[in-house]
């Protein structure tokens, strides 16, 4: 099974019924699966901060949700993750492409690759990197960690996981 289907399967297994998304091309196929799933309310957004906040609102409504975005999008909404989710202890589970790795030969992803983890560490946002299909099974634990810690949690998907080969 391809990694996107495995991730979708895990999200379904843990009861996710709402996904707010803004694609980059690495997470696009996952968003396509979420859109096609009639059991999931899919909310495409215009800005990643919307996705984070929609999931936060849904949390209060008792709904399990996921925000899906690219690495650049994550960097655009760290302020909102801090002042909304960290400040008010609202868990939000984000699935994010881990751009700028050595096998991501896109010069415009360089800064994302070099500084994203440093930024997350500065905010003290927990994260986990999924680099191999065998590790996709960690999603239920990651989701539970997010809920227990009541803060943003970033699950990164690497190029090796999603593409399986160098650029």
């Amino acid at each position: 099974m391809d990694p996107y289907r495995r991730i979708h399967q895990e999200l379904t297994r843990i009861g996710v019924t709402l996904a707010a998304t803004l694609p980059d091309d690495w997470v696009g196929p996952l968003i396509g699966l979420l859109e096609a799933d009639p059991a999931i309310i899919h909310v495409p957004v215009a800005r990643e901060a919307e996705a984070v906040t929609i999931c936060s609102g849904a949390f209060f409504g008792g709904v399990r949700s996921v925000a899906v975005m690219g690495n650049t999008g994550l960097l655009t909404c760290t302020g909102e993750l801090a002042t909304l989710n960290l400040r008010h202890q609202i868990p939000v589970f984000c699935i994010v492409s881990m751009r700028g790795s050595i096998d991501d030969h896109r010069v415009y992803q360089e800064i994302q690759g070099r500084r994203t983890i440093a930024v997350l560490d500065a905010y003290d946002f927990p994260y986990h990197i999924v680099d191999h299909p065998d590790e996709i099974g960690c999603i239920p634990d990651a989701y539970e960690a997010c809920r227990l810690q009541k803060r943003p949690f970033i699950l990164f998907l690497t190029r090796r996981l999603l593409k399986g080969r160098p650029a």
């Binding site: 849904a58 409504g61 008792g62 709904v63 949700s65 008010h88």
Partner: protein, 191 residues
């Protein structure tokens, strides 16, 4: 023409019953004075995202009507929300923008192109099902009940001026306190 925000909210409080109401920043002080209720969600922290919180709540609780009291400065910080809400099409969402022409929370500085921006026009162009602009208390009393009853998403621009100072005006420690969010969670669980 415009109406006093406190008087507008007092009238709204009589109309919304037990609806979920999302308010933000300076409007939140007037709103909690008008309706002290467990189903008040106070959107503070990041500016501009009250409507996104409201969308998440509306999708999470389709059995309840959600009324958002956004600010005009706040909406300008998150204009994409108009398109996202229109696309999601929540039937139970009424998105009000309380237009006073200022970034009130950080000192009352004027918004860009003040008095020229047509917020209801922007919402209509984005694809909201119904839009309206209400500029007097008489108009609000007459029109708002009908707008609340429509299938959403509904957008209502409320043209206001400040009224009396709310009892908790400026009490951001209260707005940010964990008690208000816990009260909201408990209130939602109970319905």
């Amino acid at each position: 023409m415009s109406m006093r925000r406190d008087e507008c909210f007092a009238a709204l409080a009589r109309m919304v019953g037990d609806d979920i109401v999302v308010s933000t920043y300076t409007s939140a002080f007037d709103w909690i004075a008008a309706r002290d209720h467990a189903l008040n969600f106070l959107s503070v922290g990041p500016m501009g995202l009250a409507s996104s919180s409201g969308l998440g709540l509306a999708l999470g609780r389709p059995d309840r009507r959600v009324v958002v009291l956004d600010g005009d400065g706040s909406l300008l910080m998150n204009l994409g929300t108009l398109v996202s809400i229109a696309a999601a099409g929540p039937r139970n969402l009424v998105h009000c923008v309380v237009e006073n022409g200022t970034y009130e929370a950080n000192g009352g500085h004027p918004i860009p192109n003040r008095d020229m921006v047509d917020f209801a026009g922007m919402a209509k162009a984005a694809g909201y099902r119904h839009v309206a602009t209400l500029a007097s208390l008489e108009q609000f009393d007459t029109e708002m009940p009908r707008l609340l009853a429509l299938q959403g998403p509904v957008f209502v621009c409320l043209k206001v001026v400040p009224g009396a100072t709310a009892p908790r005006q400026g009490d951001y420690a209260y707005l940010h306190g964990p008690e208000v969010r816990q009260r909201f969670r408990d209130g939602l669980r109970a319905i």
